[in-house]
Symmetry: C2
Subunit: 492 residues, 2 copies
Amino acid sequence: MEKKKKIKPQRPRGFEDLSGNSLNELIQLRDSIQKVYGLYGFEPLETGIIEYSDVIGSFLPDQDRPNEGVFSFEDDDKRWVSLRYDLTSGLARYVAENFDSLPKPYRRYQSGWVFRNEKPGPGRYRQFYQIDADTIGSDNALSDAEMCMMFSDAIQNTGIEVGNFVIRLSNRKILDGIIDNLNINGNSSGSEINLSIMRSIDKLDRLGLSGVEQLLGEGRKDESGDYTKGAGLEKSSISQILSFLESGIESKSQSRDTCLKNLSNQFGSNIIFNKAIEELSEISNIIDAAGYDEKKIIIDPSVVRGLGYYTGPVYEADLTFNMETDQGLEKFGSIGGGGRYDDLVARLKGARVPSTGISVGISRLRSALKFLNKSSINNESLSVVVLVMDKDKRSDYYKIASSLRNEGISSECYTGDGGMKAQLKYADKRNARLAIIIGEDEIASNSVTIKDLFVGKEFSDKISDNKEWRSGKDSQKNVPINDLVETIKSIV
Amino acid sequence: MEKKKKIKPQRPRGFEDLSGNSLNELIQLRDSIQKVYGLYGFEPLETGIIEYSDVIGSFLPDQDRPNEGVFSFEDDDKRWVSLRYDLTSGLARYVAENFDSLPKPYRRYQSGWVFRNEKPGPGRYRQFYQIDADTIGSDNALSDAEMCMMFSDAIQNTGIEVGNFVIRLSNRKILDGIIDNLNINGNSSGSEINLSIMRSIDKLDRLGLSGVEQLLGEGRKDESGDYTKGAGLEKSSISQILSFLESGIESKSQSRDTCLKNLSNQFGSNIIFNKAIEELSEISNIIDAAGYDEKKIIIDPSVVRGLGYYTGPVYEADLTFNMETDQGLEKFGSIGGGGRYDDLVARLKGARVPSTGISVGISRLRSALKFLNKSSINNESLSVVVLVMDKDKRSDYYKIASSLRNEGISSECYTGDGGMKAQLKYADKRNARLAIIIGEDEIASNSVTIKDLFVGKEFSDKISDNKEWRSGKDSQKNVPINDLVETIKSIV
């Protein structure tokens, strides 16, 4: 054919390709989490990736770029549509649209790609994978407690051991109560000033107390020179919030009961605050009775979560071990979270629909498992490559591959046009376990040669003489063709 | 809270929500197909949903609307991006981008949502699920033969029995050869006139010979009054193509060998045509040797597939049983197909990369399995609802649910606020198998009542007296609390 003008093959910034074992890891991780959600009686849901923009709205944490963050475009009928930026907004639409036919409470899990029209960076994608679980239509503390316990079970089921993670539980009303005590003008739950304070506090883990102090005041310039405008609080207000955060840091090592008692002593005169303590106590009692101790779930009042729509209990799952980063040893940190959002569905339903849910970001979890060496995946990779030594005999080769597949062993005939060397290289590259060789000698003796590519590799690591390796004495054996399937079954 | 202005909850036209068992069906179907692809040594791939528009191009069958069909919008950097309209275009980009590091041949499977910006209609969605498998970088007939055999195995693995489906194999060069014989100006493989003839023939199943005759000539007006311009061939050319199609219809009931011999006798003087027969013979020999007879794979020269980029062998999988439609009994028809496309990756790579692949549309397959009553899914649905009779005891109820989950039994405590009637209604709506009741009587006797909701339903179908059913004598039993888990394990 003619050589046509070449278009440069590239993917848009912030979009990732996943293949082979990396993809198998994601799938296994998703399935291990969803299995727990299913055991808890949550049912699966899949909503569309495109939604009407005004219907799903935009509830992203970074309100500094209000019109950005979401991929949106005009549909044929001149109505704006958006790619889903999370799985909660589509759920709210789904529930409102199908309210009468759904069981109530409605409990579902959902996994899938979500899209953020943000500046991509290292480890920061514009398409990423989330797994959510939500309970819609329940005011019951059991539904919040269940989120924490189910979250804990799900993380454990991915292979992360107790001690390496913790669910941090708090309540948005704690902060609402403290802010209420400060007598700031225009403050109410969900008001601009409350959200601004909340987002400052949400950065405690990353910026420390002094960073939060700047954000609560005039503002803060980061290393890159970018300036973030602060909440503009007075010094006395700032110091009250800081002292609350300091006591919160202590509370992490306390029992849930002690933590709630101390909080109550500190701020117990405020009615909103007391409501928070009451709700947390009720959740804590259920968690206690169900046997989830402070190794799994703690109360940590500094948890606020960045999203504006939370109204009550909030949860965050942190991995507690250190890992090496460019900045030295750092805590791995959050892999997901959630909380109660009683007003979100109301936008569409016209009446309050109490809801609570959690969301796991799968990319960070994948990195964590890799770090913990827990990303051993089931051996779904290729087991056997049957080399094609003689093109005229390929039907025979194909029959061998077919008989191995009938035994559940992943097998293939080489379908390229390379010689033996290229074929062995291919088998290596595919990370195949075995190569099967049937050349003239084998045909004459009615046998096959089975080459163990893993043994060959280990062997080659140990010896220095290349020729010796090439002879491959230890890595291959000749068996009668009738023993082939049984021999391979005994190896893989 | 205040009642805010309500936004109407609706999804854009052509987008579907999937939930519960419908979604489980899709997942099970996907996994059963992918399991076969994995056994054949294909590895998984996931490419991004957003691609640069010029990189993936547009190769949709319906060229009457060249600028439509694909969802496209401008990215921040003013470059146009598109939602993937199939999985092949992203694969071509991925392969060209990573050519040197990939094993060759590169064999992957991929599943996911694809998007068509077309007019939605009944059963015609703008977001739908596809499962592909492709071999890139192989000219080898084995890779085409493998597609047919793997396709056949995959369909069987979904539960559709041999006899209810058939893979129809042909070669694009058959038609190229016939058209070449007609001496039409400007015709060459892939030229406008060839594509126009090919698309007319592709509608044979739907429009019959007379419809195709119109499309090959002046054109055709359909029932809705829409007019499709024809290929404008002369009468003598049209009659030659029609006589070929007629012989093709006969060939469906012939052996692959006989079919190829007849074709060869009819058009054997043309060099392009002879190449087609040669390629099909080679594929057929491999298929023969591997034991796939004409119950599974036939040669059917009328198969052309609508896409312009196919260059050689083409495959289509048809379900052969009838099902009732608005037009009476009709064959179920195609559930997917594919073919060899040797020039598609060349757009991006600058050199020919021979490729072949298949694609399955999962929605039609789901309908088919439902029709065949084969959509029995693994019991992943909810098994047990523990009713909450006394809010103060919910920790105890929760412990029961938890102990059942530890045995792998999907269980939940009711998290709503309804009474016993509402709770049983909820359990029914969730299609739960059992409800567990621990009220005052049970607490006094240290026992639990287990209500079998399925037995209750069957029972209620048989009896006329509503009161009798409500008493539910046959559907529930009381057991000591210590026997609870064992008793439930014996039921579910």
